[in-house]
C-alpha cells in the first residue's frame, strides 16, 4: 500500500509535466494536423535558459525567489519566440505540402535544436540550482515535497488558464473554429496565420513552464533530455486523443501514473529480473496499445472534420 500511494503521488507530479508538454503537441495538431516533433526540444531549451538565467542572477546576488520567477519568465519568452520562429521559418512554407513533408521537417528541426543546444550549453550534464528549500510532508506513509506540490499546482493553474483562453475568448473561439474547418474559418475572416502562430506561442510557453519544472524537480539537465520527454508527452497526447485538449491533460496524468506504478511494481512482479529503470518501456507499451486498439485515443471521437 505504501508503494502504491507513493508511486501514485510521483506519477501525478510526472504526469502534470507530461500534460503540459502534451498540450503543445495537441494544440498544433488540432489546428494544422502537424505533429511538431521539435516540441520536446523547445521544452529542453526552456530548462537550459532557466539554468543560465538563474546562474547569472544568483551570481549577481539576486534573492532566490525573485531569480526563479525571472528565470521562468525568461525561459517562457525565449521559447515563445522559438516556437513562433519554428512555425514561421520551418512550417509555414510547407502549409500546403503533403503531410509527410512537414513531419520530416519537424524531426529535422528537432535535430537542429538539439545540436544548437549542445553547442551553447555543452554536452555535459548541467545542474539546476535548488529553487526552494525542500520540505517533505508525509501522508499515510507516503512522502511528497513542496517542489512536487508546486509543480502540480502550477500545472493545474496554467491548464485552467488555457481552458479559459480557448473556451472564453475571441482568440480561443477562432482557434476552435480553425481546428474544425480551416477554409471556412478563413471565409469568416479569421486570420489563420495568426491563429496558428498563437497555437505555437501558447504551446511553447507551456513547454517552457514544463522545462523549468523538470529542471527544478530532477535538478539536472542535458541537451538530449527533450527527446524522451517529447516522445512521452506525444504518447500522452495520443492516449488522450490527439487534437483534444482535455484528452492531452488526462492522457498526461494517466501516463505519468501508469509509468510510476509500473516502475514501482516491476521489480516485485518479475522477481527482481527487471528493475525500475525499465520504466521507459511502459510509455511505449501504452502507445502501441492505444494505436492498436483505440487509435483515436480515449477522448478523440474522430481526428477532425475536414471539408
Amino acid at each position: 500500500m505504501d508503494t502504491f500511494l507513493q508511486q501514485l503521488i510521483n506519477g501525478i507530479v510526472q504526469g502534470s509535466i507530461y500534460a503540459l508538454v502534451a498540450l503543445g503537441y495537441t494544440m498544433v495538431y488540432g489546428i494544422m494536423g502537424l505533429i511538431n516533433f521539435a516540441h520536446g526540444e523547445v521544452v529542453m531549451i526552456g530548462t537550459m535558459v532557466s539554468i543560465t538565467v538563474l546562474g547569472i542572477l544568483l551570481g549577481l546576488g539576486v534573492p532566490m525567489g525573485l531569480a526563479a520567477v525571472l528565470a521562468l519568465l525568461a525561459a517562457m519568452l525565449v521559447c515563445m519566440i522559438l516556437g513562433w520562429s519554428l512555425e514561421r521559418i520551418a512550417y509555414r512554407p510547407l502549409r500546403n505540402a503533403p503531410r509527410l513533408t512537414p513531419l520530416i521537417t519537424a524531426i529535422g528541426m528537432s535535430i537542429v535544436l538539439q545540436n544548437l543546444a549542445m553547442i551553447i550549453w555543452s554536452r555535459n550534464y548541467l545542474s539546476f540550482p535548488p529553487i526552494i528549500e525542500k520540505v517533505s510532508y508525509e501522508v499515510a506513509g507516503a512522502h511528497f515535497s513542496n517542489v512536487q506540490l508546486l509543480i502540480v499546482v502550477l500545472a493545474g493553474l496554467s491548464m485552467a488558464g488555457l481552458l479559459l483562453l480557448i473556451y472564453r475568448t475571441r482568440l480561443g473561439m477562432a482557434m476552435r473554429a480553425t481546428a474544425q474547418n480551416l477554409p471556412v474559418a478563413q471565409l469568416m475572416g479569421v486570420n489563420v496565420n495568426r491563429v496558428i502562430a498563437a497555437a505555437f506561442i501558447i504551446g511553447s510557453a507551456m513547454g517552457a513552464l514544463a522545462g523549468f519544472m523538470v529542471g527544478a524537480y530532477y535538478e539536472i539537465a542535458h541537451y538530449q533530455m527533450g527527446f524522451m520527454l517529447g516522445l512521452k508527452a506525444f504518447t500522452a497526447a495520443v492516449l488522450g486523443g490527439i487534437g483534444n485538449l482535455g484528452g492531452a491533460m488526462l492522457g498526461g496524468l494517466l501516463l505519468g501514473i501508469i509509468e510510476a506504478l509500473a516502475a514501482g511494481y516491476i521489480g516485485d512482479l518479475t522477481g527482481g529480473f527487471l528493475g525500475s529503470h525499465y520504466q521507459d518501456i511502459f510509455a511505449f507499451v501504452v502507445l502501441i496499445g492505444v494505436l492498436m486498439f483505440r487509435p483515436s485515443g480515449l477522448f478523440g471521437e474522430k481526428t477532425g472534420e475536414r471539408a
Partner: protein, 258 residues
Amino acid sequence: MSELLLEARGVCKHFGGVKALTDVSLTIGRGEIYGLIGPNGAGKTTFFNCLTGLYVPDGGGFTFDGQPLQADAPQKAAVRGIARTFQNIRLFGQMTALENVMVGRHVRTRTGVLGAILRNRATREEEAAIRRRAEELLHYVGIADRAGDLARNLSYGDQRRLEIARALATEPKLLCLDEPAAGMNGAETEELKVLIQGIRKDGTTVLLIEHDVKLVMGLCDRLAVLDYGQKICEDVPAVVQKDKRVIEAYLGEVPENA
C-alpha cells in the same frame, strides 16, 4: 439598373482538362437578388469559389464595390464584404449555434492575442458586443431558441439558417447563398424566401445559386444561366424562362416540330 456592386469579367477556371468556367462575365447591381442557375456541374459553385477566394481563377477577374478584388485569400474576400453559405453545410459542428455566429463577427472586430490574455475593459466590452450581435442575428433568422445547442445537433433547415446568420455576421455587402433551399420542404422554402427578401430589404445584395426553379423565378430580379461552364443567358426571370438555349440545357435539345 441601379449602381454596380459586382462585375465579373471573363472568369475562367480549369481543372486539368476540364473547363469548369469559360469566360464568364456578369454584373450585379447593388440591392439586387441575382440568381445563378444551371444544370448540375455547370460551374455555379466553382464561380462562388472563385469569387470568395477559395479558388484562384485562371483568367479574368472581379471588380467589387468599385475596386478590383484580389481573390487570392478567402479572408480578404470576407474583409471586402463578401460572405457565403455552402451547398453541403459547413458549420463548426462542435461549437454552439451562438458561437458559430460569433466567429463570423471576427472579421469586423479586432482584439488581438495580447488583449485576449490581458482581458482589459475594451476586450470585454467587445466580446459582449459580439455576443449581443450574434444573439440578434440568431433571432433574425428565427433560431434564437437554439443558441446554446451544438450546431451539428440542429435540424437540417435550422443548420441552413445558422449558416446564413453566420454569413450575415461578417456584415457582407454581398451575400452568396449556395443552394439554400436544398433539402427543405415547401413550408421551409417559403420561410426562406421571406428571409432572403428581408435580407435584401435590410440593404444586403444577394447572389443565389438554386435548383428550385419556382423559388428562383419568384425571388430573383435577374438571372444568369450557366451550362458547361459558359453563360448562356442573362436576363429577368420571365425572359430566361422562355429562352430556347436554357430550355435545351435543362431538357435536352427540343425537336424542330415540337
